[in-house]
Every structure is written in structure tokens, then in C-alpha cells.
């Protein structure tokens, strides 16, 4: 079984993000970059499937500028077998990303596409579902457990109502939630081995895609700050204020 895994380059999840001086985007100066944490979980799951003998090849795919090679090298060091960068400097909307991934899917013919449920930059949570729609494939979003057996995947999904279990035939698109696994640290031997693994660079045009820009980010600002209120001395005062001042009980 071949698995395609997406790897998005995003600001480090622990970095403090601020708007730039013009308020048109985030300030990028001095920012550290990382693999989108949800994609990292998807990749870890693919590696575990390979270690369990269920998968034979893992192809890591990123879409972004040249610097995304860094995150693909991380993916190769973790355990992906080869990598593809669809190189573009444009900021692409989720639907365009899904169209590019659909072309990659047609080229690679994997049995499974594993991806993060969302990227922690724009938090859209759309691409996996859109890709499944474009390819007319089953989808299982927000996976917290995946079992592959006899050409089907049984997935536990984290929904607002609790853990839902569904079964889909492969090929399918599965998106990873936080609790699917804990990604491994990259070992030094992995980093060395990653250097000799293939990393192919393509352009959207080479895949026959002219990305549309129907959604544009035009401004970035901080949300209004909440003011600190008052300290209360004891429970009696708290209950009185909640009743008489805030009127919420």
C-alpha cells in the first residue's frame, strides 16, 4: 500500500505571531518554521503503518516556496521514502491546494492519503474534504484511531458528540486529529539518511494547474483584548457579585 502524506510549512506552533507593520500579513522576521503539527501526526501514522507491514511506500508532498524543502527533509528524516515539492510563491487557497493534490493523487495512485485535519496558520480545515470530493473518494476527518484491514479503514473520529466510528473502503482520504498518536523525534541517523532520499520539485503548471485566487487575505489584526476584572476576597463576595453585578446566576 502506498500512502501520500501532506507536509505544510507553518510558523512554529509555539512562536508568538504578530501582524506586520502594514497590517497585511503576519510579521515574518525572525520566525521559526516547522511541519504543521497535524501533518506531523499524519506522517507518524503513515510510518507506523509501514512499520506494521501495512504500507510499503510513503510519499511526502508539500506545496509552497523553496523553503518548504526544509520541512520535506524533516519528513524524510522521520521516515518518508521520497518527497515532492510543488513549488510556488503564491499564497494558495484551500480549493487550489486540493486541485494540486488531486493531480498528485492521479500521478501517484496511492491507496491512502493521510493529512492533518487543518494547518495551524489559517485554520481552514477544508483541504482533505475538498480533495475527497474532487476525487470522488470516501473521507474520514478528525481521526483519533485508524485500523487498516482487508482494503478498508476503520476510523475513530473526534466529533462534538463524542467518538464516532466509521468504516470506509480504500482508497480514501483520512485527516488526522491531535490524539491519533505522538510523533517521534527525528533521529540523527534519519537526518543523514534523508539526504540521499529523492526530493522532486514540480510546478503547478507542470501538473496542469493554473491556481485561481478567489480568496485573498487582505488584512491581519489582533483581536480586541479582554480587560482584567477585579479580585474578590471570598466565596460570599463572588456569589454576591455574580448575582447582583453580573446577573448571571
Amino acid at each position: 500500500m502506498k500512502i501520500v502524506v501532506t507536509v505544510k510549512r507553518v510558523p512554529d506552533p509555539y512562536a508568538k505571531i504578530s501582524p506586520n507593520a502594514e497590517g497585511t500579513d503576519i510579521a515574518q522576521e525572525g520566525l521559526q518554521w516547522a511541519v504543521n503539527p497535524f501533518d506531523e501526526i499524519a506522517l507518524e501514522e503513515a510510518i507506523r503503518l509501514k512499520e506494521a507491514g501495512k504500507a510499503t511506500e510513503i510519499v511526502a508532498v508539500s506545496i509552497g516556496d523553496e523553503a518548504s524543502q526544509e520541512q520535506l527533509r524533516t519528513a524524510l528524516a522521520m521516515g518518508a521514502d521520497r518527497a515532492i515539492l510543488v513549488q510556488t510563491t503564491e499564497r494558495l487557497e484551500p480549493l487550489s491546494i486540493a486541485h494540486i493534490l488531486a493531480r498528485i493523487y492521479q500521478r501517484e495512485q496511492p491507496q491512502l492519503v493521510l493529512m492533518g485535519k487543518q494547518a495551524i496558520d489559517t485554520d481552514d480545515n477544508q483541504v482533505g474534504q475538498m480533495l475527497a470530493a474532487l476525487l470522488d473518494l470516501p473521507q474520514a476527518t478528525f481521526a483519533s484511531k485508524i485500523t487498516i484491514e482487508n482494503g478498508t479503514a476503520t476510523i475513530q473520529r473526534e466529533t462534538d458528540a463524542g467518538i464516532e466510528t466509521i468504516r470506509v473502503p480504500l482508497p480514501a482520504i483520512i485527516t488526522a486529529d491531535l490524539r491519533l498518536n505522538e510523533p517521534r523525534y527525528v533521529a540523527l541517523t534519519g537526518i543523514i539518511r534523508a539526504r540521499s532520499k529523492p526530493l522532486e520539485v514540480l510546478t503547478p503548471a507542470e501538473l496542469g494547474i493554473t491556481p485561481q485566487a478567489r480568496v485573498r487575505l487582505v488584512a491581519v489584526e489582533r483581536p480586541p483584548a479582554r480587560q482584567a476584572g477585579k479580585r474578590v476576597q471570598d466565596v460570599k463576595e463572588l456569589v454576591r457579585l455574580l448575582k447582583e453585578e453580573a446577573r448571571v446566576i
Binding site: L95, V127, L131, Q139, T141, V218, R222, A228, V235, L238
Partner: protein, 321 residues
Amino acid sequence: MKILVIAETDGAKVSEKSLPALAFAQQVGADNFTLLAIGHNLSGIESLTRYGAQSVWVADDPRLAKPLAERYAPVVTQAVQQAGADLVVATTSTFSRDLLARVAGLLNTPMLSDIISFAIRDGHAVVKRPIYSANLIGTFEAEGTPLVLTVRGPAWGKPHVVERSSPVQPFAVPAELPTRSEWLSLQGGAGGRPDLTQARVVVSGGRPLKDPETFEKYIGGLADVLGGAVGATRAAVDAGIAPNELQVGQTGKTVAPELYIAVAISGSVQHLAGMKDSKVIVAINIDPEAPIFQVADYGLVADLYEVVPLLIEELKQARSG
């Protein structure tokens, strides 16, 4: 502007989660909106008829008895075409994120998730939505018809009730539906307490609650005296003290109740992202420097084991008296 609102259902009953999407439709579309509810033998339909929709369409079919996006999406796209909708809208939830992004893919049209404002300027939509885990607000311009939207519940509130009741009409389900995905089971649920994302009061606890029994005794006990829901931090969930569906924060649920009580919660950025839209925030923490106090309307520096039992007693008296 013609709007199609997708009601949230679990296949058997409609959920109150649809209300913010209806509030959006009233504000943006005036009375030019239609509601679609999908399921089998759905209960609670009449609750959707009070908000001025031109019609409430009900797609009923045994194949739609469970909320599988793969099956629901073609029903939605058919309704979009039939309604001639410019906007397809649902309240942000795992149901709508799963379903509407697939709908956008089928329609090959853009989607904007979790929006907090909407306007039309020079022929395109201008929306604001939280990005970078709600640390920033992005303004986006979008074109495309229809546009698919999920709306962030706390930002849109509740719709107003109108006198005229919307007519309920059956909606013809496509003869062919993909039935590859199979629904097997659902575990969880709030155990008799109100749904976390809809509750008027939420009481949340952090890692210092030690174990599930202690968590239930103090956090559950306080929630019950207020008729509220129970929430937890990611740290509490990761430590196995509370189940994940109770997680409030960037990696869990976003809540905005009238009253949020944070017990032994330090107030990490990741937790604040899920609750800072609450109307009144109370923080109880033994550490006077805890960041939660910077967003709390009322802060009590105290040991939870001392004050929570007192608070439960005091609230019982306040409620009876």
C-alpha cells in the same frame, strides 16, 4: 442574496447548533433564506420553523439516518442548485466542517471557515475570521458563487423569532447516493449535562484536579448546581483526568457561555483561544500570577479544595433563597 442554511442534525434530530447560522441568515439575507435538514424520521423540525425561513426543506431517506458527509454532500449540492443559493451556511462544528468543505469541493467553489463578520463590497464578500489559533483576526476578500461559509457561533448569537411559521416541505433526495462510508457507532455524550458548546454556564477544570473522581466531584459538582456543562483543559485531558470531548481550547472546542468558571486553570494561550468570548469569566486559582486572571472578570486566589465546596453550598443557598 439568497442563502441556504444547512441545519445540523445527527440524522435523527435537529440540533440547536443551527441557531447562529439562522441569525447570520436573518442579518445578511433578511428573509431570503431556505433551510435544509437532512436525516431520517427527523425530530425537532418544528423548532426550525420559527425564524422566518421561506421554507424548511426536509431530506428524509433511510440512507441518511446517520450523519455521513459522503452521503449528505450530494443532497446539499442538489439543494444549492434548486435554491439558486449565493451562500451556503452552517454553524461551525465538526458536523459542518466535515460536510460543507466536501460540498465546496463538489461545487468547485471557495469556502470560508468560522467567520465572525460578513459584508459585500465592490461585488465581493469581505469576511473576518480568526487565524493562527485565534491569536489574530484575518480579513479575507472572496469571490465565487455560491460561497460556502461556516459561522462561528458566539459571533452571531441567536436568531429572533418571527410570527409567521415557515412551511415544511419534503426535499427529493437524489436517487443515487454514495454509500461506501459506513457508520458504526458513537461513544460519549454529556451524560445528562447540557452540550458544552451550547450551555449557558460552563465550569472547567485543569490538571491539578488529580484524577477523574476528584474532577467529577469538584468540577461536575459545581457545574450541576449551576445547571451547567463541564469543560477541561488539554493538560487535564492529556493526563486522563477528563475525556477529550470536554476539551476547551485551540485543539478542542470553542465555547462562549454567559458564565465561564475556570477552576485551577493557569490560562495558556491554547486554552484562552477556546473560551475568551465568554460573557463573564470567573477564575479560581491558587497562583496569584496565573495568566487566567488577566482575562477574568472576577478572580479568586484560593485553593480549589477549600473554596469549591463552599461555592457549591453558597450557590445552593443563593438559588433557593
